[in-house]
Amino acid sequence: MSADFLTLAVGGPIARSPLAEGSHRGAELEERDGWQVVASYGDAAGESRACRETVGWADLSHLAKAELSGTGAWLGSPADGVATRRGDGWACPLTPRRALLLGDTGTPPDGVTLDLTSSLGAISIAGPEARETIARFCAIDTRAATLPPLGFRPGSIARTPGYLLREGEDAFLLVFGAAYGAYMWEVVADAGGRLGGRPVGVDAARLAAAPREEVASDA
């Protein structure tokens, strides 16, 4: 018997985002990989435009998350403050002996993992006003000179412990304690809304965060 109960069983009931109280309002929901996710808020084109022209934010809590501890190449060096692409996800160094795995990284070659998918909520924030949006509730320095793409920063987000990953030039991923989900959605929506942005579905958000060449090849 280990800590298997932390992991959502395949074939179990549909998984519900810890942000659902906020993020599911007005949303068109779809079941994907066992999760109820927000496909869109009914205006896919407008949502994509927000991610290009102002700012769009999306509930990405279904993203797999895990703690990796022990030794091995995947741990990386926290001093660099940069995440490493692993599979379709990222390995984000926390300490010399711990890292946070985000997304579908596949199984690390060394070390032990603990599933934190349900422990952490995630919001993607994308668009030219993404930095300004984050600056409304987070004191982490997001200037490109200090936080280049793939830069990773553990630190306080809206007065709660969290992590900030810069996925691309204008795309960020906020990761935070799941119990703060409804609160965090409220905070991001307040900040982004004042800057002309809107909540968006996961597809619009993923497209905005994808590296340029991927977008080009998809199109």
């Binding site: 959502l8 179990g12 300004e132 007065r159 703060y180 905070v187």
Partner: protein, 948 residues
């Protein structure tokens, strides 16, 4: 409406008139006007009534720095009319006068106040008799103050945005020096933010004929990438964090380097009735004319101690104002260039004279000039006295940041002598006052700040050369501490502090600046001592015979510029934690309350019925808030053995043990259960409020001891639902394939199984006393688990129950809540659980030494249960009396239990009374409650139900 001819560089747009309401009357102005400039143009001279004496007060600074022009705008008091742009349709009303500014009843205090308004009067008078203070207070409060808040306002009406801004260089002040510094630093590659209080950058250039140059400099700075924040006040310096308030945005600027280029504050003169409307700073008079095309007066006298006043005098002449005389305190003025030009313009320049007394009832009508040495005296009729008593550099922000300043007699002002690391000064703050040298000093500061960040500039030395080292000090006469004898001579207009007040304070022994400030409140008004610090220091120096250097200056506290409290109140969101099942509690209309940082279901409308359901059928309670840690690794057992007073490492996989955590002083800090999942994995639960602290505690010792184990907080990742009651097993069996018979799943067993299709960890424990299963699963499936359990048990009467019924249920079992039934003194011996301490354990666990030293002593108090015969529920915290009647313990929990049919509770009682059946007296306010001690649980004392 009287306006001057179009002034070069004026700020108003005469093609765009607007109007607003002032005290119910429409006032006309132009786009670009401030409230005050429009009012002034409309002929208004009295802008406010003073704080204490209700004397009429007029315009002084023309730039929003003094308290004289405070008004209420659209219901917000405390707006400075001379800094606030006029907007069409705004509603402006005066403050602090009744019934009107022209006739204020309270101004009687000015004429008849006498000894009642002396400094320290309140302190000395209203302390006796003490019981009357509430009455005094009510009267005094209604007479004092500078505005009236609305009785009610919409909750969180204030909408301030908070914007964190990191930058390389922050430039405070957008005058010529600040603009030059910002542009230079940005050109060298630094990321620069500049904040300035005016509506456009340029500082003094804007009204001193340099508006075109100001525009060029601002354009250059913008082109270099400087982010210019206008109408943005830096309000303090907090360990390098500078809050900059700009309308409804509070920028929290964290800069690697700061350049202070905040310019100067022109100083007033102290003489009799120096507060009459019409007595103005010469810069303020000039601003009114140059920026807004408003004549500050029709017949003017200028009184100065420096060239700035002469320059302003020339400007007034240029505006066409009849200047009757210029009094220059410097006796030797005949040869000066500016004086010459004034004479050429037909203005009489009087050397060695300074104002001694203002005349006029509601506004200035004449001024008496005199020599400070006595003798020569001259009275001149005028309605404007423009004064210039030297310029004090605005140093407060630099001082807050750790800079030091010294008095410079040649400039008659304090100047910076030492800057903290990372801070630079430019312009007046650095001692460079004329435009050209200020600009050079800005360029230099910009280059130095950028250079210290690695953006080097080859011409730095050249820049330094241009400044040419120390500048010759401008010729300034030191103004007298005060002059003249008659009338009230104000040292501080904000607080109505007079020369007499400060003299009296010094005479009474409050003879240092800091003491006198607190006693007289000098410098403590809304303008933060801008115009009163130097005059009051000068006065104290004169009274004590000390020099100004010794008297020193105080550092104004933040906020340097007044801001509405709403700006500082934060966005209206509370960082609440919610359980994964929270939506269901809302569906069920639970009464949701804060519990620590969680929002929890306190009850679902009928706590007593919920308690009954648990006893009679079954109940479910959401306990997802419990702290939950995964402790893993080869030495995980060793770690826990050292942290808990009982043995953990010998726990078999699949078994559970209760544990308390102790400090090194042997006091209980938290409790919970420890479940061994496998050889190297433990699942530890903590109290709901203790999760964070326990994680810190575990990881701290782990760091110190260096054991091979990891601790991960999974509190927020797991839902936990406690299913309890006689029907719990039956309900559970309906939704799981697990063998739930008592034989295979007994008390303190842990099993992993699917419940309603959800992977769960089931702990057979019973905080509430009935047969119970605490079921944990991944949070994203928490709601599904809740639904499965409530649906499966619907026909068996399963009911959700909240925190309140749980408190009653656990009290029936005398199960403690750490922090409620224990305090910071409670050892396991006090908490009546000596059995949990295993002093024969080989590990040196935390708290062991302290407990070893106490094991043979009788604890002073002991936690026991009690029941009250007469049905009164004592207040938690009520005092338990010793036999001799002295207070000796306290009630920690008390409730009425329907099941026990009695009021029951827990209390720490003197050990002598900690006996089964002992009678205790509880003193609860006015009540005296008798109770009987019990050491056995009220419900299921032998645990048969729990284990069955």
């Amino acid at each position: 409406m009287s306006r001057l001819a179009v002034q070069p560089g004026e700020r108003i747009d005469r093609s765009r008139p607007l109007s607003f309401s002032y005290d119910g009357k429409q006032v006309a102005g132009y786009e670009g006007d401030t409230i005050a400039s429009a009012l002034y143009a409309a002929g208004r001279r009295i802008f406010s009534r003073s704080f204490k004496y209700h004397r009429p007060r007029g315009e002084i600074c023309g730039c929003g720095q003094c308290a004289n022009s405070l008004v209420d705008v659209d219901g917000s008091p405390g707006v400075r009319a001379c800094g606030e742009p006029a907007r069409a349709g705004m509603t402006v009303t005066h403050l602090n006068a009744w019934p009107s500014l022209e006739f204020d009843v309270m101004s009687a205090t000015d004429r008849f106040g006498g000894r009642f308004t002396q400094v320290g009067f309140y302190y000395k008078t209203f302390i006796r008799p003490r019981r009357l203070w509430p009455v005094y207070e009510k009267v005094l409060r209604s007479a004092a103050g500078l505005g009236r808040l609305r009785e009610r306002q919409a909750e969180r009406e204030w909408e301030t945005e908070y914007r964190r801004r990191h930058c390389d260089v922050l430039v405070i002040g957008g005058g010529v020096a600040g603009l030059a510094a910002a542009a230079r630093a940005a050109e060298l590659g630094a990321d620069v933010v500049l904040c300035d209080e005016d509506v456009e950058p340029g500082g003094a250039l804007l009204f001193e004929g340099g508006h075109e140059r100001a525009g060029e400099l601002a354009e250059q700075a913008r082109a270099a990438g400087v982010e210019i924040l206008s109408r943005a006040a830096a309000i303090g310096f907090f360990d390098g964090l500078v809050p900059v308030v700009q309308g409804s945005v509070l920028h929290q600027v964290r800069a690697a380097r700061t350049i202070v280029a905040a310019g100067t504050i022109q100083q007033p003169l102290v003489f009799g009735d120096n507060d009459l409307p019409g007595v103005m700073l010469s810069g303020g008079a000039r601003r009114l004319g140059a920026l807004y095309g408003v004549a500050p007066g029709s017949t003017a006298v200028v009184a100065t101690v420096d060239d700035r006043g002469l320059d302003d005098a020339l400007a007034l002449v240029g505006m066409g104002i009849e200047l009757r005389a210029v009094a220059d305190l410097r006796a030797d003025v005949s040869g000066g260039l500016l004086a010459g030009r004034l004479r050429d313009a037909g203005v009489e320049v009087l050397g060695g004279l300074t104002p001694a007394r203002g005349h006029g009832r509601r506004a200035l009508e004449a001024i008496t000039l005199a020599s400070p040495q006595g003798g020569k005296e001259r009275r001149i009729d005028c309605d404007l006295l423009a004064v210039s008593a030297g310029a004090a550099p605005a140093l407060s922000l630099a001082l807050q940041g750790g800079a030091r300043a010294e008095y410079d007699g040649t400039r008659a002002a304090f100047r910076l002598t030492e800057l903290p690391e990372g801070m630079f000064a430019a312009g007046s703050a650095a001692g460079y006052e004329d435009g050209e040298s200020a600009e050079h000093s800005g360029l230099l500061a910009g280059a130095e700040a950028a250079g210290s960040l690695g953006h080097h500039h080859s011409g730095l030395r050249e820049e330094q050369g241009k400044l040419g080292g120390e500048r010759p000090a401008p010729k300034v006469a030191t103004p007298p501490a005060y002059s003249g004898e008659g009338g009230k001579a104000f040292v501080d207009l904000d607080e109505d502090v007079t020369v007499k007040d400060v003299k009296q304070a010094v005479a009474e022994g409050f003879d240092s600046l800091e003491l006198s400030k607190r006693y007289t409140t000098v410098t403590m008004g809304p303008s933060q001592g801008r115009f009163s610090q130097l005059p009051s220091a000068r006065l104290i120096a004169a009274e004590t015979g000390l020099d100004l250097e010794t008297v020193g200056l105080t550092t104004a506290r933040p906020p340097w510029t007044s801001v509405p409290l709403g700006v500082l109140a934060g966005r209206p969101f509370e960082a609440a934690k919610r359980s994964p099942v929270h939506a269901r509690h809302k569906d069920l209309d639970a009464s949701v309350r804060w519990a620590g940082d969680w929002l929890r279901a306190y009850d679902y409308g009928d706590p007593e019925a919920e308690t009954r359901a648990v006893h009679e059928g079954a109940g479910v309670i959401d306990v997802s808030t419990l702290g939950k840690l995964i402790v893993r690794g080869p030495q995980a057992g060793e770690l826990l053995d050292r942290l808990y007073p009982n043995r953990i490492s010998n726990l078999a996989p699949g078994r559970i043990r209760y544990g308390v955590l102790l400090s090194d002083a042997g006091r209980i800090t938290d409790d919970g259960t420890i479940c061994r999942l496998d050889e190297e994995t433990f699942y530890v639960t903590t109290t709901s409020s203790g999760a964070g602290a326990v994680e810190q505690w575990f990881t701290w010792w782990l760091a110190d001891w260096g054991l091979d184990a990891t601790v991960t907080d999974v509190t927020q990742g797991l839902a936990a639902i406690n299913l309890a009651g006689p029907r719990a097993r039956e309900i559970l069996a309906r939704v799981t394939d697990l063998d739930v018979t008592n034989e295979s799943f007994s008390y303190l067993d842990a099993k992993q199984a699917k419940v309603g299709g959800v992977d769960c960890l089931l702990l057979r424990i019973g905080f509430v006393g009935e047969l119970g299963y605490e079921i944990h699963c991944a949070g994203a499936h928490g709601q599904a688990l809740w639904d499965a359990l409530t649906e499966a048990g619907a026909d068996l009467g399963v009911k959700p129950f909240g925190l309140e019924p749980q408190r009653v249920l656990r009290l029936q079992k005398l199960h403690i809540i750490v922090g409620q039934d224990t305090d910071s003194e409670s050892t396991p011996y006090v908490a009546a659980m000596p059995w949990i301490v295993k002093l024969d354990k080989e590990q040196e666990f935390i708290g062991r030494w302290a407990l070893e030293q106490r094991q043979d002593q009788v604890p002073p108090v002991e936690l026991v249960g009690f029941r009250c015969a007469d049905g009164t529920v004592p207040t938690e915290g009520a005092v338990v009396l010793a036999r001799n009647g002295s207070p000796a313990g306290e009630v920690t929990s008390a409730r009425f239990s329907a099941k026990v049919d009695s009021v029951i509770g827990m209390a720490r009682v003197p050990s002598a009374l900690a006996e089964e059946g002992a009678r205790i007296s509880i003193s609860d306010g006015d009540r005296r409650i008798e109770a009987v001690v019990t050491k056995k649980p009220f419900f299921d004392p032998d645990g048969e139900v729990l284990r069955g």
